[in-house]
């Protein structure tokens, strides 16, 4: 049997909904695991990417410095990098804060918010700093494919992955990217 396709996944400024949708391929997961080996991914709970992989799937946009580091590491180690879902492609829901300054956002949450005690903007060095705007992935690194949807349907994942495994250029049929 041919070597398994190494796949890494992660969620940046996302909600893990795209990962849930990936799990929705249901029993096809069994078939998938025959041909795919997961590296870093919430699926196997590996926290660090172990080395070069064939395919990286990233959901969520980029909202803080840590997101930037993770994304850059994925770009370095993934042969093919995919922006998965609305937030990865456009910034999505988190980017709704882009209409405000970061100061306004943080003050709303940590200074003026309902029930806030010890009001101050968190400054612990453990916390990654927020970017002034939430960015889609392709603003930071080169992205090879965009898998649209909020989330992309399980079939869209399946279609994309099987096409990649067959060495084809994945093109989603209209039914899988038509949302209304």
């Amino acid at each position: 049997m041919a070597e398994k396709l190494k796949v890494a996944t992660c969620s940046l400024a996302g909600c893990f909904g795209c990962h849930m949708s990936l799990l929705d391929i249901d029993e096809r997961l069994v078939d998938l695991l025959e041909v795919v080996a997961f590296d870093r991914s919430p699926i196997d709970d590996l926290k660090q990417i172990s080395g070069p992989v064939d395919l990286g799937l990233i959901e969520g946009g980029v909202c803080n410095a840590e997101n930037v580091h993770v994304l850059q590491e994925f770009r370095r180690l993934c042969k093919v990098l995919v922006a998965v879902g609305e937030c990865g492609i456009t910034g999505g829901i988190p980017s709704m804060r882009n209409g405000f300054t970061l100061k306004e956002c943080l003050e709303e949450s940590y200074i003026r918010g309902v029930g806030v005690e010890f009001a101050h903007i968190p400054d612990d060095p453990e916390l990654p700093l927020l970017l002034d705007k939430v960015r889609p992935l392709h603003h930071i690194v080169k992205i090879d494919y965009f898998l649209p949807g909020c989330p992309p349907s399980a079939d869209a994942f399946w279609h994309f992955l099987t096409a990649r495994m067959a060495g084809q250029d994945p093109t989603l049929p209209n039914a899988l990217i038509h949302f209304d």
Binding site: I121, D123, L129, L130
Partner: protein, 627 residues
Amino acid sequence: MKPAAAPSIQEILEPILLRYGGRPDLLLQILIAVQKKLSCVPPAAIAALAERLAIPLVRVQGVVSFYAFLSTEFQGDYAIYLSDNITDQMLGSRELAAHLCGKLGVSLGQVRADGRVSVRFTSCTGMCDQGPAGLINFRPVTRLTRDRMERIADLVNARVPMEDWPGELFQVETAMRRSDVVFRRPLKPGEGLRASLERGGEILSTWAEDLAPSDARKHHLERGGAETLKEIYKSGLRGRGGAGFKTGIKWQSVRGASDPERYVLCNADEGEPGTFKDRVLLTDYADMVFEGMTICGHAVGARKGILYVRQEYAYLEEHLEGVLARRREAGLLGENILDSALDFDIGIHFGAGAYICGMESAMIKSIEGRRGIPRQRWPLPVHHGYRRKPTVVNNVETFAAAAVISARGGEWYARNGTAESSGTKLFCVSGDCERPGIYEYPWGVTVREVLRDCGALEAQGVQVGGPSGTLINAGDFDREISFEDLSSVGTMMVFAKQRDLFDAVRNYAQFFRHESCGLCTSCRIGTTLLANYVEKFAKGYGSPVDLEEMQGIGQIMKTMSHCGLGQTASLHISDSIAKFPSIWAGRMRTTEFIPAFDLDGALAEARSLTGRTDADAHLPHPVPQEA
């Protein structure tokens, strides 16, 4: 002292509504009049107009927001718009604008605190041969210099009324640098029209039905214009607006329509940057243009023509109305033209700053008082045009040519030019040359000949046909300007060896981003993406990955856009990549993709909010910013 009570909105609107007969289809003309009166269209006026014209509020708001020269916010007693074409920039317009703003104490794009004046950039005002140029309260100013800017600032600061400003500031030159067979011997008023009436031809069935058998005028109607249409066919005349559709076929389609109500529209929305021939024609040869429209009316059976003129040329209104009045007096326009049964009259409409309105169906919308958004391509205006009636839409130069063809014959006309591009063409030459201006050549002239005649010996490239046309390098200078080879609306912007053509590309990208009407996604988003990518290269953040992406976007725009604007709005990118690769390569500091913005800068706000300075509070930009 108490200021005199300002007139109410109603008092201001009343005479304007009266002038336009309270017609909702003249909404744009009404709004232009309000803008000129108040230097804005205030929300109260929008509401009042919606009510008086019995149209929805959003329709009025929509029209105001669409056109660059209409604004809900007060633009100052003196609204100054400076032409921002690349040819203006090459003559130092950006520095001059800064100088003017300094002298006026105003920031670009804002109204001075006392409400006296605002200074803005606008798309090309069609004075490229005598730039840097601009508009002050919609009157053109040309050949701007530091000295002239200072004089303008003094006049504004001293609050001198526009009518007392020295006339030399507003001088516009129109002399042709070179004339060929058509303009060496321009027509006398009536020459083409008489020929058309004498030639006569088969009567139009839609006209014959109007007649009682005993009508004494019937015999005149036998001069039905069909013979003139044959001459147009014989001449091989093709539209001069750029697309080059056969005029004879277009006219025949309208002539053959079953609806007796037809229209003739003349497109003088000359918005293509670098183009100014229509201005010259309307100034010095307006009779030929109106005559061509009248002849068209004769040939296709229309009784009404409309000239649609861009706002930048609205200063010609008095002159054009004067020519029309003189023609009516001379029996060349109105009822029973030259004592025949032909009735035809022409009205003038103005635009309000929108490049897209040069696109025929957008122009029709604009004439109907709506946002100038192109309609679906089918049905064509010849079937459903103005007021959904069969309509001929031709360029100013096409009508002038039609008048000449009627006077001198189609065969005579076709003797000039090439097989597929008959006759002569007006060229608008600007940029780096000794003698910018209008040149008449037979079609088929080579770029090199034009460059020689205008004194452009050091050219590295020419933008042929404006930003939506073709950018060529010296390797293409022997190509011919014709529909067979390099087709063009007649515009040639010349770039000398020392110029950085990237500046031109950047100017065009910003132009298209501003002028996209926003209807279709590929054009609205495509033009913005391209302009953003060009800015990325300007910052030194561009890479081959971006270049490839730009070409992909351009391809989508070319194939997916609704109208010609979007279909051509990426050509300057692909042309410049193909013909002048060094302007892109020279700006790449990296072969890998890097962000278009400063990553570390994106953390600056968070750093200042948290007071953090540790290493993790910084993000190195992937490539050192100093090369």
